[in-house]
Amino acid sequence: MDNAIEARGLVKTYRGDVRALDGVSLAAETGSVFGLLGPNGAGKSTAVKILTTLSRPDAGEAFVAGHDVLRHPARVRLAIGCVAQKSGLDLQATGRENLLLQGRVYGMRGGVLRSRAQELIERFGLSDAADRVVKGYSGGMQRKLDVAVGLMHRPQVLFLDEPTTGLDPEARVDMWSEIARLAGDEGLTILMTTHYLEEADSLARRLAIVDRGKVVAEGTPDELKGELRGDAIVVELEEQVLDGEVRRALDTVPELYDVAVEARTLRARADSGARSVPAVLAALEAEGVRVASVTVSRPSLDDVYLQYAGRAFSEADQEAKRP
C-alpha cells in the first residue's frame, strides 16, 4: 500500500448551498506527513470529517489505511486517530480518565490500557496534571492531551486538524517535534491541516492548498516554491498610495514582476532581490512615495499561496469572516 490516504473527487454540499468541497482529490504516502493548507472556510475540516468517516460526501470516494471510507467505515475507524479542530475533551474528567475512556471504546482493557495511558501522559509532559480535571488545563495542555487521546489505540493513520492553533511558540515547537517523531520513528501517516505555512513547509513531505473547496496547488514544498521565480520583495509604505501611480513608477524597473499594492504594502517579485531593490527604492523616491521598510525573501509558501489562490491568507480570512 503506497498511499495510506487517498481521495478522489470529493464533493460535499451543506444546506443553504454551501459547497464545502468541490471535487477534492489528494493522496498521502504511507509514513509521511501530508499538509492541507487554505484560508478559513476553504474546506479543510470538511475533508478531514469525510476521511475520518464522520460525514459522508455527496460524490467521490476515499480510502484510508486501505479501507473504503464509505463501504467499511468501521474498519477505517479502528485504523485511524483523529484530533479534530474542536477539542472534544471531557472537561469534567481528568486527563487520565479521558485517555482511559478513549482506550476502552477501542476495546483496550486492564494493564495494557493503564500502561498506555501512563506512557502518553509522560510523553506529552502531562504527569503533573494527569489526575486533575481538564477544565483547569491551559489551552496548550488541552491540545497536547487531544493528541494523546488520538494516539491512545496506536492508530496507523492520524488526522490533525489545526493541532497548533492557539499554542504559544514554545508549545508549537514541541508539537512539531512530536509530529515529526510520530511520522519518523513510529511510521504513522499523518494528515494535518494548518494556517501556518512555515509549519507545513518544515513538516510536510507533500502538501495541498485548498481554496473554496478546490485543490489549487499540490506537491512537495520545494516543488511548489520552485514554480515561482525569484525573490519576493515587500515594501512597507509610510502612507497609502494609489495602485496605478506606483505601478507606473515601477514599470521602468527591469526584472520586476507581479507588482501588487494592497493598503500600505507593496509586493513584487524579482529575479534577484538584491539587484532590484535599489532601483525600486529610487523609482518610489522619484515619485515622492516615502518608504518605511523593505524586506527581501526567498519564495515562501505564502507566496505560493498568493500565486495560486490569488489573494493573501489574511485577505481570504477577512473574507471568510464577513457574513
Binding site: 444546506r15 468517516t53 475507524r77 479502528l78 474542536k86 471531557d90 480518565e97 478513549q102 476495546g107
Partner: protein, 258 residues
C-alpha cells in the same frame, strides 16, 4: 451486541462521574424534592377535606406525586448535557471511534434511570419521616419507582431529541419550561382527579405523568388493583420505547448534518 452493552456501561460511568463532580447539582436535586414535599404538603394540607377528594392524608397523597414530578423534571433537562457534548466536540470524537452509536444516548438514559431510583427512594424515606404511610408496602414502592423511572427515561429521551435537533440551550430551556409544569398540573400530582375540571380529566387520560402517578398511588394503596398498575406500566413502557426511537432518529439527523 456485548459491545453495545459495554460501551453503554462506559458512557454511563462517565455521565455519573461528571454528575458527582457537580456538588451544586447534587445539592439542588436533593433539596428541591424536600422543599416541594414540605411546601406543597403544608400549602394544600386542607384540600383533602374537600368532599370527594378520596384520600385521608394529603402527605400520603402527595408523596408519590413528588416522586414522579422529581423524575419528570430531572429528565426534562437531560438534553442540556448532550448539547454541551456536541458543542465541545465530544460526540464527534466518539463518532469517529468505534464506540457504539446507541451508547451515546443510552448511557445518558441509564444514568438518568439510576439517579431517578436514588431520588425516588430518598423521597419515599422523606415522606415516611414527615408522616406518610404506604399500606402497599415494598411492592407498591417498587411499582411507583419503576413507573417514575420509565416516565423519566421517556421524557429524558425526548429531551435529548430536542437537544440534538435544536442544539441550543435557549430552546431547551424554553421547551422544558413550557412543557414540564403544565404536564404536572394536567395530572393528579397535587389534586385528586375527581376534582379537576372535566376537560382536564380528559387530557390527563393521555398524560404519561398521570399514568405514572396513578399507577404509583394504586400500588401504595392498602389493597392495590394490580390490573391498573400493570396496564399503566405497560403504557409507560410503550411511551419510553417510542421516545427512545424518536431520540435515535433525531441523532441520525444530527449525524447527517455534520
Amino acid at each position: 451486541m456485548t459491545h453495545v452493552l459495554t460501551d453503554t456501561l462506559f458512557m454511563t460511568q462517565r455521565h455519573f462521574r461528571n454528575l458527582l463532580r457537580q456538588p451544586a447539582w447534587i445539592l439542588i436535586s436533593l433539596v428541591q424534592p424536600v422543599v416541594w414535599l414540605l411546601l406543597y404538603g403544608a400549602l394544600f394540607r386542607k384540600i383533602v377535606e374537600i368532599p370527594g377528594f378520596g384520600a385521608g392524608s394529603y402527605i400520603d397523597f402527595l408523596t408519590p406525586g413528588i416522586v414522579v414530578m422529581t423524575c419528570l423534571f430531572s429528565a426534562g433537562w437531560s438534553g442540556m448535557d448532550l448539547i454541551e457534548d456536541i458543542d465541545r466536540g465530544v460526540i464527534d470524537r466518539f463518532l469517529v471511534s468505534p464506540a457504539s452509536r446507541s451508547s451515546l444516548i443510552a448511557g445518558r438514559l441509564v444514568q438518568g434511570a439510576i439517579v431517578g431510583i436514588i431520588q425516588s427512594v430518598i423521597i419515599v424515606v422523606l415522606g415516611l419521616i414527615v408522616g406518610a404511610e404506604y399500606p402497599g408496602g415494598v411492592a407498591g414502592i417498587a411499582a411507583l419507582t419503576i413507573c417514575a423511572v420509565l416516565l423519566g427515561t421517556g421524557v429524558g429521551a425526548l429531551s435529548n431529541a430536542i437537544g440534538v435537533l435544536s442544539r441550543r440551550v435557549e430552546t431547551m430551556v424554553a421547551v422544558s419550561n413550557f412543557v414540564l409544569l403544565p404536564l404536572t398540573f394536567l395530572s393528579s400530582v397535587f389534586m385528586a382527579r375527581a376534582l379537576m375540571p372535566g376537560w382536564m380529566q380528559s387530557v390527563a387520560t393521555y398524560n404519561p405523568v398521570e399514568w405514572a402517578v396513578n399507577a404509583g398511588r394504586e400500588g401504595l394503596a392498602s389493597s392495590p388493583d394490580w390490573g391498573v398498575v400493570l396496564s399503566r406500566m405497560g403504557w409507560l413502557a410503550l411511551f419510553t420505547l417510542v421516545c427512545t426511537w424518536l431520540a435515535t432518529r433525531a441523532f441520525r439527523v444530527y449525524q447527517k448534518s455534520i
